[in-house]
Subunit: 213 residues, 4 copies
Amino acid sequence: MPKLGMQPIRRKQLIDATVAAIHAHGFAEATVKQISARAGVSSGIIHHYFGGKDALLAATMRSLLTDLQRELVARLAAAETPQARVEAVIDASFAPDQFSGAVQTAWLSFWAQTPHSPTLSRLAQVYLGRVRSNLRASLRALVSDQRAAEIADGLAAMIDGLWLTAAVSPTSIDPETARRRARDYIDGQLALERAAGPSRDRDETADGVAGAA
Amino acid sequence: MPKLGMQPIRRKQLIDATVAAIHAHGFAEATVKQISARAGVSSGIIHHYFGGKDALLAATMRSLLTDLQRELVARLAAAETPQARVEAVIDASFAPDQFSGAVQTAWLSFWAQTPHSPTLSRLAQVYLGRVRSNLRASLRALVSDQRAAEIADGLAAMIDGLWLTAAVSPTSIDPETARRRARDYIDGQLALERAAGPSRDRDETADGVAGAA
Amino acid sequence: MPKLGMQPIRRKQLIDATVAAIHAHGFAEATVKQISARAGVSSGIIHHYFGGKDALLAATMRSLLTDLQRELVARLAAAETPQARVEAVIDASFAPDQFSGAVQTAWLSFWAQTPHSPTLSRLAQVYLGRVRSNLRASLRALVSDQRAAEIADGLAAMIDGLWLTAAVSPTSIDPETARRRARDYIDGQLALERAAGPSRDRDETADGVAGAA
Amino acid sequence: MPKLGMQPIRRKQLIDATVAAIHAHGFAEATVKQISARAGVSSGIIHHYFGGKDALLAATMRSLLTDLQRELVARLAAAETPQARVEAVIDASFAPDQFSGAVQTAWLSFWAQTPHSPTLSRLAQVYLGRVRSNLRASLRALVSDQRAAEIADGLAAMIDGLWLTAAVSPTSIDPETARRRARDYIDGQLALERAAGPSRDRDETADGVAGAA
DNA sequence: TATGAATGAGGATTCATTCAT
DNA sequence: AATGAATGAATCCTCATTCAT
């Protein structure tokens, strides 16, 4: 008599083992044998539950994105002002569960793989689109539509850059500092708005740093 | 006597082919056969000139970083004010030669590989250290030492994040827009300084977005 | 569940195929492909069961030495006098199973490889030590300790030389003749002892052939 | 203007380098690049002077055998009695120039390769035939034709076995000891002749060790 | 005479996948 | 449901050989 309900347990085991294996040995070196050994099961089981290695990798990326999304949704639900909603995005991005060794390395590996896998690429685009549209919607309550789009893109890039820094130099940044850098960006952009006046867009032809001095 | 002086020619050929192969097929799929075919030479030549695949990959990353460094040095040499020096870093990062498809993908691949290769990691750390210390030195002329460090870190993260965005969604960003986002960040941080007054640091305990509104 | 207990079967298959391949094509030409084809299995299986070619070669040498050792132990157990024990060593060395084409060629190949492989060297030293100490112990019942050591070394060299002759010129010697040559040596040394008197060692400063004539 | 008379110089350089390379790394690992580097010349030169690696190896074995033969001829020329001629063979075999590390290892490597190379095999057979017929001729002056053949074979095997011992366990035997073991053999066989009487062959049906006790 | 650049076949090894049990 | 035996294609690398200079 087969054990019942093993599927969700095994799938989670294997996905966790995949993240750990990528962290420990790298994306290309995360072999089926490595992952299954780490999960304490046989190598054949991966094909039983996922159909193949590629599907396991896709499921793992989906799992990482889902965790992040869950974190984000929970915080957005509790946010009542536009500012709080922007901050919720920042806080979700640097929540301790997400912003930690194994997850960062795996995340960076998937990002690097994205351009060469339609499946992973699709997952990434959906996620990126959701974050940006969330940010834009919140920012529209504070600035013009155009500036909202620009600041949303800038904040998304800043968050990604801070993640990348953490993945490449884990000791050089902690979640609290990362959060502060992201808030600095928003604060700075809003300060520019106040200085320019509420009804005008930032001049896209300005000379940048020199002009601001 | 055989043809002399082929070494630099072949090495450049092979490094260029490696960047192209990573862009076209991904880091793990950039095989010796792929790369040598793309360079129009035999596979054995890679071992003749580099000793092995790993050394070719390291040389390729070194080459990418050197190109970026050369771009940066040239622009810094022409910059006369602190503001111009900060802008030089931004402009070098998004110079057309660097900020293009193949280079971005390869760059992201190397970044993802960094945690699993001491050689690549060392190269990355050296580069990151140089950029940050350059930025800090320039910014110290404009703001306090602490703020200079913070803004340098933030700008570096922003630049990296914009690169990552470009690598993952090549159609979503162009060099000019990327440059503008990075300048926005600097402009914003300087605006915050003016608002806070020249002699005071940003309050590290502030509540972020909500507090800045 | 998969087929169980295949390991000892496959290992023996592969070791036998290795001996045959060395005999047929030489040590360096005993490739993984050759061996696996001869065993009727795929090439990957060697790494599954042995971990690599080197380990297979070491296991093969170990197997050859174990067979010889088994032959020797069986004969020693049946020998009741010192003379019979010496003869047991000779008979074991030239037993039909051992003293045959494939085994001889493989044996010689391993001997030649010994100086360049710590693993093989260790195996060889253990075997050589065992044979010599066996012979010495038996001979001590017949002659002085010093002469026992000398005759043991001489007999061991004679046996090895006869093996080498058989490996290099298989048609020039048969097991019975080889056995006779080895016995001649022992008979001769014991005859010298009788001629010199039981209480005296052979004079190590003697002039050799000329002096004995 | 090409350098004149380079051929013999280069050939000797390369043959010496081959012996050294075999000693240092083993027969299969003695690559063209290794050998040419050791000789201080380019790899292409081997094909220029020998036509290929196999021919270089054959020339090297021929060189080793020629050296041994020269040693033997010189000593035989000085020997005036049958006993002295037998001793000359022994002394030539263990002459310091021959009985040393690199030569032994190389010699053993060639012996092991012999069964798989018609060229090497032919060289070996010629050499073996010469030594044996020399020994037989000398011994016929001392014992019956049949015994001369037997003792010649036995002595040849003993010499080869002592070489093999030296190659496998270089520290366990020195030339002087080796020479003594070989002389012991001859002394013993001649002692048996005296005991049996000058006109009778050794009884080929004797029980060996037991019978001699 | 001599070089070393260049080739490509062949080596050991790794690995995702299949499948009988 | 689960195993691990077995496969064979693909990878990196080595190497004897060729050849233009």
